[in-house]
Symmetry: C2
Subunit: 204 residues, 2 copies
């Protein structure tokens, strides 16, 4: 999992186009020919860097996850915020990223939906990606639990998986509506629930 | 939006295969030729009933929504349960359906992810489907609110949209893991949050 910036320029260009095109079009609707045309890459160069389309998409997923983990690194170690607020901030920054992309949702959520019914390779890979994200969030939630920021009896791994899952659903809705409403509502609902505050819309 | 049972037998066979195949493979990976082969249908018969593949998929979505609305009709009018419990029961029955299908997730969530980046037709249609489901749930939540089953200050439409969105995310995770864990965890978390009970895993 190399940083995209450290790659051969041709590979970098292809991966960056892949991040954009796979998010927009999904896997099966993306033709290698269209990718080559969009990036001005000769066919031979593509096959120098990637075995085939599946290998390309898996490397795009790797590059996406490098970005996600960099975001987690930066947010979850931000000692200016409390542990629970660090996780919330990570999702807020993710929402900003979605906004810059025109609210197209989450790349791995999209590929997971599209491909996990027919490909064990993608099903396992994307399942592992979501699990890895939840695992890192759980560590931060454990810190929140230990300092009393969230209730002591919370199952932090369960709460971390829930956070990721509910976020993915809100991301789908934001892709359908091209708006942040579902993302903001989900974060607010989740944070209130874990803090054991009254549910959204409740003035009391 | 006819009931599948009331359709011409050939159309019925195609729609039923479409419900299964689009859930499993998505839209772009499904070839008309494979559909015809799987159902023993001559090409001409397909084009007698459907303009093209897009028309076919839209009619499959219609058939899916007829099922969903029938499930809502039956659950949300079940006076043996309280209003809030009726909605929960609808999702529990949906989980049973997913189990019978091998946890392949939600057809409209899957097609929404796959197609809404490139097709305004599918984006609007699937957005409207989720909105219609949330609208019916909101009516039942309003009943729950009025009898004091959920806090009086709840914004029922917001809560209904949240329920649908979080469910879709849990459905994606269940498709990735082929298990009900995420669905059960999400329902439990959501119900506790709205009832203003301590979050999941909290013994207190």
């Amino acid at each position: 999992m190399d940083d995209v910036a450290a790659m051969h320029p041709t590979k970098q260009r292809l991966i960056e186009a892949g991040l954009r095109l796979l998010l927009e079009r999904g896997y099966n609707d993306l033709g290698i020919q269209a990718l080559l045309a969009a990036t001005g890459t000769p066919r031979g160069s593509f096959y120098h860097h990637f075995t085939d389309k599946e290998d390309f998409a898996l490397q795009v997923i790797d590059a996406y996850m490098v970005e996600v983990h960099a975001g987690l690194d930066s947010c979850l170690t931000d000692l200016a915020r409390t542990p629970f607020a660090r996780v919330r901030h990570f999702f807020e920054l993710t929402e900003q990223k979605y906004r810059e992309e025109g609210y197209m949702g989450c790349l791995i959520g999209g590929l997971g939906q599209e491909l996990s019914g027919v490909s064990e390779v993608f099903r396992r890979r994307i399942s592992a990606c979501l699990s890895a994200i939840a695992g890192r969030i759980a560590i931060c939630l454990e810190e929140a639990r230990q300092i009393g920021e969230i209730p002591a009896a919370c199952d932090v791994r369960l709460l971390a998986d829930l956070w990721v899952d509910c976020w993915e659903g809100a991301a789908l809705r934001s892709r359908l509506t091209r708006s942040p409403t579902s993302l903001k509502a989900m974060l607010d609902f989740y944070v209130r629930a874990v803090a054991h505050e009254p549910p959204v819309g409740n003035a009391g």
